[in-house]
Subunit: 321 residues, 2 copies
Amino acid sequence: MVTIKDVAEYAGVSVATVSRALNNSGYVGKQSRIKVEEAIKTLGYYPNEVARSLYQKSSKMIGLLLPDISNPYFPLVAKGVEDYAQQNGYMIILGNVEDNIEKEDMYVKFFSQYNISGVLSAATGKKSQNYQVPFVLLDRALEEEDYSIATDDHLGGELAAKAIIESKGKQVVVMAGPKNIAGANDRLSGALGVLNSKGLSYQIFETHSYQVDKAEETAVQLFESTSHFDSVIASNDVYALAVMKEAIKRGYRIPEDIQIIGYDDMLFSRLMYPGLTTIAQPAYELGFQGAKMLVDLIEKNSSEHKKVKLKPKLIMRDSLR
Amino acid sequence: MVTIKDVAEYAGVSVATVSRALNNSGYVGKQSRIKVEEAIKTLGYYPNEVARSLYQKSSKMIGLLLPDISNPYFPLVAKGVEDYAQQNGYMIILGNVEDNIEKEDMYVKFFSQYNISGVLSAATGKKSQNYQVPFVLLDRALEEEDYSIATDDHLGGELAAKAIIESKGKQVVVMAGPKNIAGANDRLSGALGVLNSKGLSYQIFETHSYQVDKAEETAVQLFESTSHFDSVIASNDVYALAVMKEAIKRGYRIPEDIQIIGYDDMLFSRLMYPGLTTIAQPAYELGFQGAKMLVDLIEKNSSEHKKVKLKPKLIMRDSLR
């Protein structure tokens, strides 16, 4: 590995001069600076980040905590986070915490040991004060957190209900997501607000998880525990897909007999046939903007926006009449 | 933050004693050791990993390079890697390199700056010698690499072709994946070997990428550039889904007019209707075993197995006759 001593020798200056040039502290003559820069370039010298991190008590690393990386929504968020981080010289430490408080505890300790610069968390457990570094809540907004970025799920719920009404749904099932997830409640209240204002008949079907491996049994339960319906507002695209499959198995046509709208806009929603009408969450944008907010906090100790809500939008395909 | 000095004061011993106790080097009296351990527990002291890393010239961090995190196959691999790493006290640094050699260059530099312990790479570019740390090639096997873990893609190709033959395919299109990916060539040769041995008529349709955003245009090209066919061996499940959609749009029935088999066994393949028959890759297992191989290399400088091939298997659903 090339060391600062090698750079000093090559440039014909002292180690102290190289150090001052690197840190922009103290006087370095113009000629010396040029020589140092040339030496750095020629030798391919990179200041040791571990040493720098120890000195500055922070590293250029961001912790990213996700609740379920096997749900295809989160890799898109992660991609947005990583793109912004990379453009700004930060690395991502990935933690898949699976709503498991012990796993998250372990990450809190790790992050402290590694002097991590900041944390972006879409996990449901620990709050900002546990981390003692800049913290941005991702994909959710909570009153007690200062910085957060999330989709406007109330609006998302409204958009879904309006689309069902425009396509002449009469008997609607609204799938209510997990009660401990604020966004799930926002979606539900958005949808119910619109359905109530139009005096439409609806049933609420409660689901206790977004975990993808529960989708099929949930779809079966939906058909067995609710009375006749012609429209479904699903928790997300994975659950919409499972409900569609169960409907077709039971001899219903999509959308003639049962129409359905999802939430997220996954890759398969576009590629499947009939294409799934859904509410698109700006997953990539959420990750990208969340990383930007965190890096602003880390570098300037402030951020222009504290609580950002991104707008979801309706993507019309073939699963509504 | 609690320091080693705080621990020494609380325990009523010298800093040097605490240091010897922590590093298990030199003599520490039994009473002192108990006092130090109590102090560590009470104060919640964690040795600073950055300092330890600087001293030992390595960190407990693993670099994980993926070619496309938005392809739902890779998050499953990442989950396997993360589970093993976490159980063994390692953190994952995630890099989504997108077949982009400049992005990968940047990660090589970063990894060197942070004294990373080892690298797991499913990216197509840089080889082990660029990293100068233990290196395991993930999801691919190359002759010039010492350590790798991959699915036996030759066998996967054979299984797909055999399934097509058993379901009475007559005119087969085999989608050939990117030529620069060894696994894609293995699959192709496995499939062609079986088709040739049975004297079946086939056409090869070349694709230049596995990137998910190319799936739809590739499906259109497939129908426009190949003559009549009744069976498709697709590059992967995402491409199979896109081909199915295009087929249905053009008025073909699945599987009566055109049957299709995928590769990977994605979540949606199980949830869609008709369900996609496919070759399941053990994605989670691949990540888990790959991480184990790397940690063995890091900690013992050896590993029992050098080049591991995991077996894929046929998952029968409804897209074959």
